[in-house]
Amino acid sequence: MHAFASEIQERSGQNLSRCYQCKKCTAGCPTVTWFEWPNHGVVRMIQRGLRDELLGSKAIWMCVTCETCGTRCPNGIYLSPIMDALRALAVEEGRPVPEPAVVAFHKAFVGSAKRFGRVHEATMLAEFMWKSKLFLQKGFVGEAVGGAKLFAKGKIPLLPSSVKGKAEIAKIFAESELKL
């Protein structure tokens, strides 16, 4: 087995070598249209050790962890932990990411959880918008209108609430590989 395949197998706990390329994962994936390679192709590429291609891919950021693939896989392989492992590797290695907005959102979200212990939408979204430069992009207006509607309905409180056990939260982050 290729070293990269072993690494992903180890990190994800999924036995990739069971895959016999039946493509049932691809057939059921809601977001595969936006992958460069279909789900079974991702497994194949891991088997073949195509590390750079995968860690720099959009595919790994387009998986929404819906678990449909794994649920139906005849060999019980779940792609979501595999995608998690690929994403984590890409972040750890500081790879340039083709989906900056998605990554920026995840970072803003987790950052908020790290700071307050709970997520505070207003500051989190502000950070996300800033970091993702989303407001410079087409479609921002639509997003902003949606956000504004929520705001108007009192769905986005202004003040964050935070937890007392921040030391424990900090310890969880300290023990991880994650750098925000």
Partner: protein
Amino acid sequence: MAHDKQRVLVIGGGIAGITAAVDLGDAGHEVVMVERLPSVGGRMLQLSETFPTLDCAQCTLTPRTVETGQHPNIKLYTYSEVVKLEGGPGAYTVTIRRKKAYVDWQKCTGCGACQEKCPTKVRQNPFERGVGVKKAIYTLSPQAVPNKPIIDADHCRYLLHGKCAVCAQVCPVGAIVYEQEETFVQEEVAAVIVATGFDLYPMDALGEYGYGTVPDVIDGFAMERLCSASGPTAGRVLRPSDGREPRDIVVIQCVGSRDPEHHKAYCSRICCMYSAKHARLYKHKLHHGRATLFYMDLRCTGKGYEEFLQQSTEEEGLVYVRGRVSKIFREGDKVVVWGTDTLSGQPVEVEADLVVLAMALVPNPEQVELARVLGIPVDDNGFFREAHYKVGSVDTGCEGIFVAGCCQGSRDIADTVAHASAAASKAQVFLSRLRRRAA
């Protein structure tokens, strides 16, 4: 009910012929068995281990060959061929040509001295498939039934040049007969079972795979010989070119099969399984070796076969690539394989040390002539044509003549054994009809 001894001719002493003969012999019928090689056992004699259990082939086969050799109802003509069949159903006269062994088998005790002392090593012996040597006087295996040697007239120094005669000198019973002539015998039989087996499509038909120029490209039987504990390398997988252990092997399936344009249109049915087996046996012997298999569809349809395949990829780490190989060539001391992975759509190039081609399975070349002698039909591919695809696969349309095993169509050992017993049943039914007709 005491049977009148009704005799059946069984042509071919492979596992199909043996199975049919023992069934018939056990049922009280006399069997005349004709085998073109010096001993019985057929293709199974060449095999190392069998899928899906990886049992040693010789271990399961030898009790059967021994039983055949000792069966009171089975009369063996090995190193012989059927040349004529006269008469009709229920009363055939068969003429059997006994080829020149240059050894008087009546006198020979099978002591093996001649083989040991013979100075001529022959690499071209078809049994060893080019990866091992036999002497110019040889038996097929140490457990051969019957355990009698023959002289390879194409390579014997005495027969070619009139010098040597070492075998004649060392034989303690004076069994070597350089002047031996072929003989013809006739036997009366009531029914015939044809079980002449198969061969592999010749590799020299495949220019793009470089046969003849690349010594480390071998066929499936050569791989069997290399893996076999009783084979020429005592079970070590060594490259024919330089005797080194290969670090990377490539197994290519469907070579000559499923290729209606250039070769054979049909599927050879057994290659998917034996290729997986070859790669696994190789990995068992060389734990750090890499095995890559090129395939089109994985056809593992028998009992336990799918599981065997899954285990091969899951536990044994075989790498399967879906796609045909377009070219194989020698580069330095490597063999380069160019293929495509149709699943990722990318080209794949492997630098291999050894390449095994799973060649198409074909009828023996002699089969067409035998069909003419027996007056039974063959199909476009040279296999015997069955009377009915579904319910008459052992019938030929000629009363009293039945077919069994791979000479009718490609099948694995288990299916061959069942098919052979089926032919034996049909022969027995035919004989009992004859008895009733006579009564």
